[in-house]
Symmetry: C2
Subunit: 194 residues, 2 copies
Amino acid sequence: MVPLRTKVNKRELILTEASKLFKDRGFGGTGMRDIAEKVGMEAASMYNHIKSKDEILELICFKIADAYTTQLSEIANTEASFQDKLKQIIKVHIDLMIHDAAAVSVANNDWKYLRDEKKEEYKSIRKSYERSFAFVLEEGMKSGEFKTMNVSVALFTILSSLRWIELWYKPSRDISAEELEEELSTILLNGINI
Amino acid sequence: MVPLRTKVNKRELILTEASKLFKDRGFGGTGMRDIAEKVGMEAASMYNHIKSKDEILELICFKIADAYTTQLSEIANTEASFQDKLKQIIKVHIDLMIHDAAAVSVANNDWKYLRDEKKEEYKSIRKSYERSFAFVLEEGMKSGEFKTMNVSVALFTILSSLRWIELWYKPSRDISAEELEEELSTILLNGINI
């Protein structure tokens, strides 16, 4: 029997390599054989760790969704100011995009290939994430920390303004994750105007 | 012979209906027959107005690219403050997305199906648009109107924060184009903070 610890590591390795392949070649363009090759395993023995390509996609998407959701809920439940909460949420998005780039890209783009039931579950987690994020904005407006504005407009502007980083960022850019977080927080919280 | 005026109108009609079909079914999923049917023409007589599906895609993409480029260059060349220039550029994006929604969506998403040479031309127009936009931001920073920050980060944050509107906006939303422009300008120029 494969020891549990090794099994978990192998699974993680399979997910990591699969994320990169899905990102580069698309979910449809990647076969279990390609994944096995990258991981350095026989395709047959990979099935000891994972059932199918569908299962790999599910694990990647829900892992990322869970990372966002857990961190948002931790932030929302602190006593920090709404400004600080928003800064921390922006940081979560940028950190995940930079440190788990391939998996975030798969979760953002390939979730539509999830099987029907899982796709519905994924969409409902995303909706609920948006609702919780909107609630932080709404409360921040009520508290007088944020300008009063259409909550959906504010929410989607923020979410969308964070999306390009996934496509643009690479370690060779002359800006660190911290500087990016600082600049994005500044634009969204205080604007481009001096 | 078909009078020139009617010919231009027919061509416009073909582009309008083709944009909607490309947006709904994708460029690959739409045939010349589908377009002819929507326009209410025989496929054979449509070829009096347009050579191919590739030509339709080209006309749509370059029409939109031209609309953005012309307006940006007009705005950049005025004596307005940089804040006002930025507001006007934001307005151009939102107006085009709202009033020419299907064509903008095709230009944003289906340009990758342009033929090689045209695709390169299109990409270089986009690059040059981004450079001109970046120049407005850079000059605004130098003038002291805008905060000093990484120009690429500011540019892509703005461009990306305007993209979601294309997917979200429909006339049934309880917000007008003017209100959207106002809110987006406020967030980007002055931030969410009070």
